[in-house]
Amino acid sequence: MSYESLVEFLKDEAQIAALSFMAVIYALKIWGIMKKNPIQDRTPNHGNPKEGVRYSFTVIAMPWEMQVYRDHPMKYIEFTIFHLAIAAAIASTFIIPYWPDVMLKSWIMLPSLLFIAAGFLCGLLRLIARLTSPAMRAFSVPDDYFSIILLNVYLISAMIAIPNSAATATDPMIWSIVLFFGLTAFFLIYVPFSKISHYLLWPFNRYYLGKHFGKRGVYPKNSAGLRAADL
């Protein structure tokens, strides 16, 4: 296989195969969970389950509603930038092969690079926190360290690959494309088994939690008692 066809293979067939694999594993994972019985609640509603579900999904965008983010606003900023940067990197794996011209526009490329770089810094802070905080170390497992390192490496690879997205097989920077798409394919295969799959389970868990707290009138949370100092 030539270098050029390897790049094309990584950009296209490998991604589709890895994505399909991920989809199958995810489907099995969700099936495994959904075949278990949910908690049955026979009692009449006190609140509104639908409102509870809505609140449960949107509370993540309302840092003032959660004490831990009220107390540590920088943690929320870090969390947001990190996750959005990963989303941007993932988006570029679709944009580069299928709409290559888009990424070459400087008004898209530069902000994207800056955003992903900020995400990398946030990822680095998260890694440092995991390594230095005794509380974090106490419950961290190899998958936690590996996942955060992997994501940081992934963000770096995206930063290098995006400006070189038009590189040809003879271009010395073509390795960055190979690395980025190689990592993406690895990601798609590894992620369903690791803790990174939380983004798949998150909507399900938030749905059931929201329904539960909504029924009981706990969600949407009444924040009438919050002082300005709390916010």
Partner: protein
């Protein structure tokens, strides 16, 4: 029990406890650590082993070892494990029983929404199966199983206490007829209490009796199934949880009450209102209400009046976790306190964000963990002392005990009180009915009401406006409250909305006859007991040959309580009404 056998039982229970919610909570945690700062154990001690993620992982890792693909191949990679040694079992015991009050504060602060209390309760259920349970919790569960209440109060002691309290109550309100009724059939409310009220805190029960007396409530306490607490919740024992609920619900059904009111007990309310019907697999035909809601309804409906100047000391309110964070009851106590105390101040954070009293989850029954519990209680101590209040009001006996413990430990110059106690203190007694001018009619004495007793409500259903005006005026003059409906359909709506004490019913009406209304009423389970007096002409001109009395009384439904013919004889009707309502 040998460790191997214990582990086997533990795993068998784990498999039974896995439902969709458990599986999600066990799978979705990303170890972000945001939960740590929401846990009073961690905040107070900074011990890494006290962070919720660490504690929940002790259960999560057991699940992963058996159910997560990657963990089954490479357990070290995900922290999955299996229990083998007595030390590991002891470690799990310490985490599940001694380092979490299942307050769910971490849950509402978790970006992923992990229900740590669900995991911890499941862990406790597993340990219970393995007979690894603190002696204190075991003893309480045993008392609930065998005697029916968590403090082992015998039936005789309970009945004697209620009798004594009933006398105290009569003295308290200055009415010899006032009582704490026992097993009164058809009462509106069945009031169930925490055994602590019977054994150690009778003032709380007396305060509740006083409030219901002032509101003119028709209530009763049951002789069985009176314990609203439920250690099935804390011990992870669904069987006990269901049994406690079943006893209470069956008694309510037997007495035919309209609703069950749970006294001020956080977990008691949560267990009775939300969890026990699920554990007992019972669909309830009556509502379960917190006494906070009952009191705030009395206030809203004008059934009680409060004078805040009777409670001059500064008061703050502690939201019990099981009410604020697991049952959504946060505004009712505030509505009450703002009306019954002169100086109410919020603690911060509050409502669903409030810090746990440190005594939840059965912690007060586990003296072996007292040192750790009180160390963690400093968070609560700092929070309440910052308010400058001299009284911490709360609506949970467990919280009262825990707060008193921490007040002593941290030498805070404060007292505790239930919301009901403060409300009772602020009660303004309504004018007694006998002070109002109601005269005898046709030799029939008007109704004499006890202080605070509510007038009986009569619904008059008649299509003729003149008849309605005549009857309602007559009844009101005689000391009753009245409502009226011009046809049977409107009458049925009003019955459902106002639940009158008696209905006077005309037979011939447009749209729907009184006969049809009567049959429908008797078929409705919740309405069938409302007494009905038929008020109609024996031979209506349009139906000269129909014997209405025979027609209505010979159906396969209970006969009406009275039958009065038009033209109405006032004395006859008033006597009939009085006999139906009071004799």
């Amino acid at each position: 029990m040998q460790t191997a056998e214990q582990c086997q039982k533990l795993y068998e229970t784990l498999e039974k406890k896995i439902n969709r919610n458990f599986a999600l909570s066990a799978s979705v945690c990303v170890h972000c650590g945001m939960c740590a700062d929401s846990c009073h154990y961690y905040v107070a001690t900074k011990d890494p082993k006290m962070s919720p993620a660490y504690k929940a992982d002790k259960i999560r890792s057991l699940y992963k070892y058996r159910h997560d693909w990657l963990s089954r191949i490479a357990p070290f990679w995900t922290g999955a494990r299996t229990l083998k040694t007595p030390e590991e079992l002891e470690d799990l015991h310490d985490i599940c029983w001694g380092s979490c009050t299942m307050c769910r504060r971490c849950t509402i602060n978790c970006p992923m929404g992990v229900d740590m209390a669900l995991l911890i309760r499941s862990g406790r259920a597993m340990l219970l199966a393995a007979d690894s349970i603190p002696e204190g919790v075991k003893a309480v569960c045993k008392d609930q199983y065998e005697i029916g209440n968590q403090m082992g109060i015998t039936r005789q002691d309970y009945l004697e206490t209620i009798e004594w309290l009933s006398e105290e109550h009569a003295n308290d309100v200055g009415d010899p007829r006032a009582e704490i009724p026992l097993d009164k059939k058809g009462a509106n409310v069945m009031y169930v209490v925490n055994p602590r009220e019977v054994k150690y805190a009778p003032l709380t029960l007396l305060a509740a009796a006083k409030i219901m007396y002032a509101a003119g409530e028709s209530w009763t306490m049951p002789s069985e199934g009176w314990d609203n607490t439920n250690f099935g919740l804390f011990a992870g024992d669904d069987k006990l949880g269901g049994l406690m609920g079943q006893r209470l619900f069956e008694k309510a059904q037997e007495l035919g009450v309209n609703k069950v009111v749970v006294s001020e007990c956080g977990h008691g309310y949560r267990a009775t209102r939300w969890e026990a019907p699920n554990w007992a697999k019972m669909d309830l035909h009556f509502p379960v209400e917190s006494f906070l809601v009952t009191m705030s309804n009395y206030l809203r409906e004008g059934r009680i009046t409060l004078d805040p100047s009777r409670n001059k000391t500064r008061v703050t309110y502690h939201d019990p976790c099981n009410l604020g964070r697991s049952a959504g009851i946060t505004e009712e106590p505030r509505a009450l306190l703002k009306r019954c105390v002169a100086d109410f101040v919020e603690m911060h954070p509050n409502r669903a964000d409030n810090w746990c009293c440190s005594g939840g989850g059965g912690a007060m029954s586990m003296p072996e963990y007292n040192k750790r519990r009180l160390e963690a209680a400093i968070v609560k101590a700092d929070q309440i002392s910052a308010t400058g209040a001299k009284i911490v009001a709360t609506a949970c006996h467990n919280c009262i005990d825990a707060l008193e413990d921490l007040i002593r430990r941290y030498k805070l110059n404060m007292k505790t009180a239930t919301v009901g106690e403060l409300v009772a203190e602020a009660l303004i007694w309504p004018k007694a009915a006998e002070e109002e001018e109601i005269f005898a009619i046709d030799g029939i004495e008007p109704v004499k009401l006890a202080p605070g007793e509510k007038r009986k409500k009569i619904l008059v259903i008649d299509d003729e406006a003149d008849v309605r005006t005549y009857l309602t005026t007559l009844f009101e003059d005689f000391g009753y409250e009245t409502i009226e409906a011009a046809d049977a359909n409107q009458g049925m709506r009003m019955v459902k909305e106002y639940h009158p004490d008696l209905i006077t019913l005309d037979i011939i009406m447009p749209k729907k006859t009184g006969i049809k209304f009567y049959w429908e009423l008797r078929k409705e389970e919740k309405l069938t007991d409302i007494p009905v007096i038929i008020v109609t002409g024996f031979g209506e001109p349009e139906f000269p040959n129909v014997n209405f009395k025979k027609f209505i009384t010979e159906r396969k439904v209970p006969s009406p309580e009275g039958y009065v013919e038009k033209p109405i004889h006032r004395a006859e009707l008033l006597k009939k009404v009085h006999d139906v309502l009071y004799v």
